[in-house]
């Protein structure tokens, strides 16, 4: 595990793993989509609209999984202070935001034919919306603080504070939801899932997870390269400045 602290090792690992993860993702998603559209039955209550669930649920899962990855990387930043952990943290935020966004959009598109409106303040959707806000705030934090190391530390602590908060937000939103809406109108528990629907869903979820892993590794690789480029640019700039500094010192 410690080898992952070495950026060169991570680059070599990424070069090998990205094609494998990418291929697995493509294969599983292709099989999953085939099953979703040609094998899985329509739900007796929801009809064909149930096919939206096969992307909605994996997106929700990855929206949360990405946060777990980000929080683990945040621990890496704070405890071991390693640049690869910083890169992993920074890369996970936009990906998590993307999956959370997909979860919200598909949930809303599922809601229109089911509930007759694009958005209801359903407890689970609302919790995901707050999660999206947290992701967006973290991305804004990364973009605002210029020094990468400082940004990494600030984002790491905010990520962990968010991690503690997410279950509390979930609990309070559930409470708020039961308070304001008669539970019978919107059933908060999902529909029962049968085997013929479970397999496609599982395959889609695993495929999407490999997609996330491949994208995350690609993004981490970019961050490592960006860091090197930054470093080289600085070295070149300071090399150019050397004579001037020397002249300045000689003049003193």
């Amino acid at each position: 595990m410690l080898r992952f602290a070495n950026p060169s090792f991570v680059l070599r690992f990424a070069a090998r793993a990205i094609p494998i993860f990418g291929a697995l993702a493509a294969l599983l998603l292709a099989v999953g989509l085939y099953l979703v559209f040609f094998v899985a039955p329509a739900d007796y209550q929801q009809g064909e609209t149930v096919r939206i669930m096969y992307i909605h649920v994996p997106a929700a899962w990855l929206g949360m999984f990405a946060y777990m990855v980000m929080a683990s990387a945040a621990l890496g930043t704070l405890v071991w202070r390693h640049p690869v952990a910083d890169a992993a943290q920074k890369s996970a935020a936009p990906l998590g935001a993307m999956f959370t966004f997909v979860c919200l959009v598909t949930g809303s598109l599922w809601g229109k034919p089911m509930w007759g409106t694009y958005w209801v303040w359903d407890a689970r959707l609302t919790s995901m919306l707050v999660l999206l806000l947290i992701y967006l705030a973290l991305i804004a934090l990364w973009n605002t603080i210029e020094e990468p190391q400082r940004a990494a530390k600030a984002a790491a602590v905010m990520t962990l504070v968010g991690l503690v908060n997410i279950p509390i937000i979930k609990f309070s939103v559930d409470w708020w939801n039961t308070l304001h809406q008669p539970a019978s109108v919107f059933k908060t528990s999902g529909p029962a899932i049968y085997g013929s629907m479970l397999w496609p869903l599982l395959i889609m979820a695993v495929g999407a997870t490999f997609l996330f892993l491949a994208l995350h590794l690609m993004s981490i690789r970019n961050e490592i390269l960006r860091r090197r480029l930054d470093r080289l640019t600085r070295l070149a700039a300071s090399a150019n400045d050397m004579p001037r500094t020397a002249r300045f010192e000689a003049a003193q």
Binding site: A137, T144, I145, V157, M158, G162, N165, V173
Partner: protein, 223 residues
């Protein structure tokens, strides 16, 4: 001989009082918000009575954010923060006391004023009491959570908006239970004590945890 923390509290209090603005400006901001809301939604007293507690809570939440980005910034800029870190008192306690002082100067006036402004929102006496008590119990949580955001953005010249982005989603639980308690006070399906107890738990938990997060940020960002 005063203890270092008591001295710090007195110092913070004195600074806030001499700079002026903090508390009284927050109250004026609250009044302005309470005034412009009816312009937006119309002077329907029944509607105002129903959403009054929510409006006052949101207004108080926003008013609390006003001066929060300066919580550590002035000390960060003039080097006092380095001095406080060098002292024998753990930074976590320093943060805690700074939060308390900030709460006393910013939130306490809001807690007193908000129920009175309930008059403009057609609130009854029981409801005003509920708003006051729920704000009294809930606003410390907002200060503690806000302190983490303030610490994260301490090195930024214009961190105010970013701080609000970071802090507001984390304030959702306090807002939910605060408004629930305030609403429950004037009758409803749930007893007043339930949301208030949870609100108190949120305040205690954030008071126990947030100073550690904020102190960790201040230490690391100062490196």
């Amino acid at each position: 001989m005063k203890s270092p923390l008591a001295a710090l509290f007195v110092r913070e209090f004195a600074i806030a009082r001499r700079i002026g603005g903090g508390g009284s400006m927050g109250v004026v901001f609250l009044l302005v918000l309470v005034t412009i809301v009816p312009f937006a939604i119309g002077p329907d007293l029944n509607l105002l009575r129903r959403i009054g507690p929510a409006i006052l809570w949101i207004a108080a939440l926003l008013a609390m954010l006003l001066g929060l980005d300066r919580l550590f910034q002035a000390d960060f800029e003039d080097g006092s923060l380095d001095q406080l870190q060098l002292g024998a008192t753990p930074l976590e306690f320093v943060v805690f006391v700074k939060c308390l002082a900030h709460w006393a100067t910013t939130a306490l006036p809001l807690v007193v004023a908000a129920p009175l402004f309930g008059v403009l929102m057609a609130q009854e006496a029981a409801s005003m009491l509920g708003i006051g008590v729920s704000l009294l119990v809930g606003t410390p949580a907002l200060t503690f959570i806000g302190a983490v955001g303030a610490a994260a953005t301490v090195s930024l010249r214009r961190g105010g908006l970013l701080m609000a982005l970071l802090v507001l989603p984390l304030c959702v639980p306090a807002l939910i239970f605060g408004v629930s308690a305030a609403t429950a006070a004037s009758g409803g399906t749930i007893p007043f004590a339930t949301p208030l107890a949870i609100l108190a738990a949120l305040t205690l938990a954030s008071g126990a945890l947030c100073p550690f997060a904020a102190a960790a940020l201040l230490r690391r960002l100062g490196e």
